[in-house]
């Protein structure tokens, strides 16, 4: 295939296969490739045009450029970490604490997973390692009360940042989604306008169910963005592209390992390169 010839069907099909294999999803993949066909690029333009269309999708959502919390705030900036079981919420909470701490912020974490075995202990280990206080209650307690207390403690201490870890929950469980809505309201009762962000932590290995997760967490928990965890594996997290496209949600960070330094601000170009392989 000469670079200056019109791209052929086989090349388009292999691009579509690459997108599907990266979990972009068959419908989004077909739309992206159809867009290419209409633009009728040459062989060498094809990949560049595809990259650009994907980067545009990822840069489009509005709150993608919302600022990170800065030290010296009047009231605490509050974020809730939510998502399905095992996606990486607790570890991500610790990573965010480490990151904002490096920026000079004073941090407090809320251990609002009062359900799972050793969930509070897990976050407390991170709190000790980072020298960040953790607000926690008895296991089995009301998670909304932990949210309330964490926000109140943050306010009382003049903390810049309050990060709240929540229990994993499948979006199909109405009572658990209602619990999350209640936790959201609790934050707002203590601090005006809280939470500032509600971030869905999505496992990069997630398939098309990720779109269902995002839709339901948007409806019930008012998520304001995504964090894509476990991108250090071979899964490329393509469903996040579909989520950005259909729900106009920004990807804020990516998780690249199990340590507190393994968090990076989202880079659309690098992410698209990863998807296209």
């Amino acid at each position: 295939l000469l670079p200056s010839e019109k791209v052929d069907a086989a090349t388009l099909e292999s691009l579509e296969e690459a997108l599907i294999s990266a979990d972009v999803g068959p419908i989004t993949a077909a739309e992206l490739v159809e867009g290419l066909q209409e633009a009728a690029p040459t062989g060498e333009e094809t990949r560049r045009l595809l990259r650009e269309s994907m980067v545009r999708i990822l840069e489009a959502p509005e709150n993608g450029n919302r600022a990170e919390p800065e030290p010296g705030r009047e009231t605490p900036w509050v974020a809730l970490l939510v998502g399905v079981n095992g996606s990486g919420k607790t570890t991500t909470t610790a990573k965010l604490a480490a990151r904002f701490q490096k920026h000079g912020c004073s941090i407090l974490m809320g251990a609002a997973d009062t359900f799972r075995a050793a969930a509070v202990e897990q976050l407390c280990v991170w709190g000790e390692r980072l020298d960040v206080p953790v607000v926690a209650h008895q296991s089995g307690g009301d998670p909304a009360a932990v949210v309330y207390d964490a926000c109140a403690a943050g306010s009382a201490r003049g903390a810049d940042v309050v990060l709240i870890d929540t229990a994993g929950r499948l979006h199909t469980k109405d009572n658990l989604m209602a619990e999350l809505a209640k936790m959201h309201r609790s934050a707002g009762k203590v601090i005006d306008g809280a939470p500032d962000e509600v971030w869905l932590v999505l496992d990069a290995t997630t398939g098309q169910n990720g779109l269902r997760q995002a839709e339901d967490f948007l409806t019930h928990a008012g998520i304001t963005g995504l964090i894509l965890a476990k991108l250090d594996g071979s899964a490329r997290g393509g469903v996040a592209l579909s989520i950005a496209h259909r729900l106009s949600l920004p990807i804020r960070y990516v998780g690249t390992g199990e340590g507190t330094d393994d968090l990076e601000p989202f880079d659309p170009e690098a992410f698209v390169d990863g998807l296209l392989g």
Partner: protein, 291 residues
């Protein structure tokens, strides 16, 4: 879902006597889209469609079915057969205590599954002991102790520091206390993490598990076959446990894993409590994937 869509597409076959190749193509195109949306691996979908096409065109249309119904029946049969027709039991043979090793990616559900399996085995008359060799994740061993306690199961607790030492001590304790099964919960690991895969392989070599089970997240997408293949090659696997099937994931990963590895699915996880483990029914998974 898929069946309804197929029925609509296959109406073109109404009034025909044979499954016509040309009329079959739009149905297969529809089926391809639906299977990919259900997270069945791209390559597995290709193979599946090829075998459906071959069977649908090759078969004599049954008198009782329309050609359209015939195709749907072929799809269902092929899917169920691929998913592993019969139920395979957990086979514990060899010297006691039988070591059952649980492996898989981070967050798949191994620790929770260890308690579920222990509960299942005890109800079958076994005396299991649980042990965690996850020395990495904060409070991992504490989590294992707590889930064991809530399920009223024996768990190993000791001062050992490395995975090999812990497993050694646990094995000795299990033997001494008369347990016939030792369930070893391992740390989540990436199949691209050479060091961690070597650790898992070394554990397997040292303790010759009776059964090594891969816990697979049923929410997973296209990449899942890559990790399970790597675990099968490096560590050796005897079976699969599919977790989080209480969600609304279509579970296409089940078809991908089974057709690529040939391994049986032994159990499915349907919740967070130790009782939330069910035996695997391929026909139920088939109808879930086919919507």
């Amino acid at each position: 879902q898929i069946t309804e869509r197929l029925q609509r597409t296959l109406r073109a076959l109404r009034g025909t006597v044979h499954v016509d190749e040309k009329a079959l193509e739009p149905a297969l195109k529809d089926l391809r889209m639906a299977l990919l949306e259900a997270d069945v691996n791209y390559g597995v979908v290709k193979e599946f469609l090829a075998s459906v096409r071959e069977k649908a065109l090759g078969e004599q249309v049954m008198a009782s079915l329309t050609p359209g119904q015939q195709v749907i029946r072929v799809v269902n049969e092929e899917m169920t057969a691929l998913l592993g027709g019969a139920q395979v039991p957990l086979s514990l043979v060899g010297p006691s205590p039988h070591v059952v090793l649980l492996v898989g990616l981070q967050g798949a559900g191994k620790t929770t599954t260890a308690a579920k399996l222990g509960h299942f085995l005890r109800r079958k008359g076994h005396s299991p002991m649980l042990a965690s060799v996850d020395v990495y994740r904060p409070a991992a061993r504490e989590q294992l102790l707590q889930v064991a306690k809530s399920a009223n199961l024996a768990a190993f607790e000791g001062a050992a520091e490395t995975p090999q030492e812990i497993a050694d001590a646990a094995q000795a304790a299990a033997r001494k206390d008369g347990h016939d099964v030792l369930l070893l919960d391992t740390a989540g690991r990436l199949h691209v993490d050479e060091e961690m895969m070597a650790e898992a392989a070394a554990l397997s070599a040292a303790f010759s598990p009776c059964v090594t089970l891969y816990v697979a997240d049923s929410l997973a997408g296209q990449d899942a076959v890559n990790s399970v293949k790597a675990f099968a090659d490096r560590v050796g696997l005897d079976g699969i446990i599919l977790s989080k099937l209480d969600g609304d994931s279509r579970g296409g990963v089940a078809l991908s894993i089974v057709s690529v590895t040939g391994l049986p699915v032994l159990f499915v996880g349907v919740g967070e409590k130790f009782g939330d483990l069910e035996t695997y029914h391929p026909d139920r998974i088939a109808s879930r994937i086919l919507g």
